[in-house]
């Protein structure tokens, strides 16, 4: 895997807050070894927001937890390197991690109902970190908790700190978990699908809150989602994950405008657009993510890829630079002569090398590959 040396965009030159290098997390199962995260490298500078996108089972949640050393299984093994503010986290003991967790890096979970402790009052769940990490007294911690709840937009915070999680609405609960994550002023916030469990109407509010808070506190954020629409207007850069690997990454605008990987392309085609004619058929990516036990050689996406060629089955593509800090791992990238040629050959044959049927009709239903604009798909 290549290691980014020059961070993208305006943040160039600043030292990275987080540098993940060749991170690999495996689980021993009775069926064999599951490689959930397979050699991922990432970097994040101060104040930057990185989106990690992939469908369920692509390893993005395990990646998030591996970065923070929160993989809670005896059978799990994490190797590689995670440097946060210059400090190596992989191999660090639980005692040492306690000074990282909550203080330097915090996490927002997918479902606030299960992430909050149902048997503890909300206030207590905030004040316990304040008192433990910042040595606050009882009343100081209480006042800080009230201020935190107010800052994340919870009305009547003085009353709410006495509430139990089940007495709050879903959106309120997620605001509480954000307040908990912010409590000790971490530099890095990892938000793992923070809106998936919420009503659609609440999702935007929560995403706006996260964006507002990270900007205000100059924090860096890793925003994990399966929804490209979520990251479109809210991230500086995006990494697309598939089968535990990063298959494409780059600055958000570039990635939307000139995506190269067929997986990214497929995901973008799944998003309904205002510009589409009524009753247009939504495109889907056929098949399912591969079983992560005994992944065969070749590109893991090949079985579902419209452009798969014989080469894709024998050689595993690695990330290559496509200009402007945009990288992809594909031999026949979208929008390039090689890619167009591969597609044309498959269309002529009626199927890809893995037997996936490709016919002109399905191609046309979704329209030819065209540049997408981030603003067009933003929620």
């Amino acid at each position: 895997m290549t290691i980014d040396t020059a961070p993208a965009g305006s943040s160039a030159g600043r030292p990275p807050l987080l540098a993940v290098d060749d991170l690999r997390t495996t689980f021993d199962t009775p069926r064999g070894t599951v490689v959930a995260v397979d050699g991922v490298s990432l970097h994040l500078t101060e104040g930057e927001t990185l989106g990690i996108v992939g469908e369920s089972g692509s390893g993005k949640t395990v990646l998030a937890r591996s970065v923070l050393g929160l993989v809670t299984s005896r059978s799990a093994l994490t190797t590689g390197s995670v440097r946060l503010q210059g400090r190596e986290l992989v191999g660090l003991g639980a005692r040492a991690m306690r000074d990282v967790w909550g203080v330097q890096a915090a996490m927002v979970f997918q479902d606030p109902m299960t992430a909050l402790n149902g048997t503890m009052r909300v206030g207590r769940q905030i004040t316990e970190s304040l008192r433990y990490h910042l040595d606050m007294g009882r009343s100081e911690a209480r006042d800080t908790a009230v201020a935190l709840l107010r800052s994340v937009g919870i009305p009547e915070p003085e009353a709410r700190i006495r509430a139990y999680p089940h007495q709050l609405s879903g959106g309120m609960r997620q605001r509480v978990t954000i307040a908990i994550a912010l409590a000790c002023g971490p530099r890095l916030l990892v938000a793992d699908e923070p809106t998936t469990a919420l009503d659609v109407t609440i999702q935007k509010q929560i995403l706006d809150l996260l964006g507002h808070q990270t900007r205000e506190r100059a924090m860096s954020m890793i925003l994990i989602t399966h929804d490209l629409g979520v990251v479109a207007g809210r991230t500086d850069r995006i990494a697309v994950m598939y089968a535990g690997r990063v298959v494409e990454r780059g600055p958000t605008r570039t990635l939307f405008r000139a995506r190269r990987h067929h997986y990214t392309d497929g995901m973008l085609r799944c998003i309904p657009r205002l510009a589409q004619p009524g009753h247009a058929r939504l495109s889907v990516i056929p098949g399912r993510p591969p079983d992560l036990v005994d992944l065969p050689a070749g590109c893991p996406f090949a079985p579902r890829c419209r452009a798969a060629r014989p080469r894709c089955l024998v050689e595993t593509p690695t990330l290559v630079e496509a200009g402007g800090h945009h990288e992809h791992a594909c031999f026949f990238p979208v929008g390039t002569p090689e890619g167009d040629d591969a597609l044309a050959r498959n269309r002529a044959a009626g199927a890809t090398v893995t037997g996936l049927p490709v016919d002109a009709e399905t191609e046309d239903a979704a329209g030819p590959p065209r540049p997408a604009d981030a603003s067009e798909v933003a929620v």
Partner: protein, 320 residues
């Protein structure tokens, strides 16, 4: 709270049936209950037999007999022993504190050991410490309390001479002496309970430790001990709570044997002595009191539930 109070009628119905069954015990006697109760010597005296028949309202129809008996029982009159002449309620009242003290001590001891052991075992699930704890508790399930009692007497009393093998010192007479006589019976009773509690807590705790709320507590940088005992223990102890209530039956049954072995003046030994002396009115009274205590204790456990789970307290069903 409301939830629990709604079960009040069910409890009342159960108590009524339980009392009726206890009342029916005298109906199991072959022949004339009065003759059976008086025994071979007393039965020769027709006057005594007549007196017993009047006492027990044996000439009334069954429903009237039951109503009368229940009425008496409700006012605290459980009859009078035909062996000792002592009122049954008084005899039970004298002995109940001993049984309650030993039983409570046993539950407290069992929980005091099971909570840390079960928690640690779940925390290190699959590891060597967990294997030892799980294996030992499985073995303890096969050790009846009387066997443990004999073992304790042999080691602590006969061999080491640390504690008196039998006897009872009242709490009000000598608190230290009381503890010295209460600890071995309580330990014997606690052994089996401890194994049941440990295994149950371990299983539930393992489930809890896999939940997001625990990962979140770790992500907050909380120390391990705090996560285990402040975050994970409460949501893991709902079924433990229920079983502690249900196991009160086992404790009461165990008290009968243990009090006899350690010669404690408790309700259990009263029951055994009454059976051996065929003091049937006493047996009936003791059975009634024990059965009622059992039903009431389980009702109280249901109430305590609401203290553990705020979701129930606020009138919502617990989902997790």
């Amino acid at each position: 709270m409301r939830q629990a109070l709604r079960r009040l009628p069910t409890m009342a119905a159960t108590l009524l049936v339980v009392s009726f069954l206890t009342f029916l015990l005298t109906g199991l006697l072959p022949g004339d209950p009065a003759v059976q109760i008086l025994g071979p010597e007393g039965a020769n005296d027709p006057e005594a037999v007549a007196a017993v028949r009047a006492d027990l309202r044996l000439d009334d129809p069954l429903p009237a007999r039951y109503a009368g008996w229940l009425g008496d029982a409700l006012t605290g009159d459980l009859g009078r022993s035909y062996r000792t002449g002592q009122p049954v309620a008084e005899a039970i009242g004298e002995r109940l504190p001993v049984t309650v003290e030993v039983g409570t001590l046993a539950v407290v001891l069992a929980l005091a050991v099971a909570i840390p052991l079960g928690t640690f075992s779940a925390f290190r699930a699959g590891g060597p410490a967990d294997r030892v704890i799980t294996g030992t508790s499985f073995g303890l399930l096969a050790v009846p309390n009387f066997m443990m009692a004999i073992l304790l007497i042999w080691i602590l009393a006969e061999t080491l001479g640390w504690l008196p093998a039998t006897g009872w010192v009242r709490l009000t007479d000598d608190p230290v002496g009381n503890l010295r006589t209460a600890i071995m019976p309580a330990l014997a009773l606690a052994t089996g309970e401890l194994a049941v509690y440990t295994r149950l807590l371990r299983a539930d705790m393992i489930t809890t430790l896999q939940q997001d709320s625990i990962t979140m507590a770790r992500a907050k940088g909380m120390p391990t001990a705090r996560i285990l005992f402040r975050h994970a223990l409460r949501p893991s102890s709902f079924s433990l709570m229920t079983v502690v209530g249900l196991q009160v039956g086992a404790i009461i049954g165990g008290s009968v044997v243990i009090e006899t072995l350690f010669a404690l003046p408790g309700v259990g030994r009263l029951l055994v002595d009454s059976i051996l002396q065929r003091d049937l009115i006493m047996v009936q009274g003791v059975a009634l009191v024990i059965a009622i205590s059992f039903v009431v204790i389980n009702f109280v456990v249901d109430l305590l539930y609401t203290l553990l789970d705020p979701r129930i307290r606020h009138g919502r069903p617990a989902t997790a």
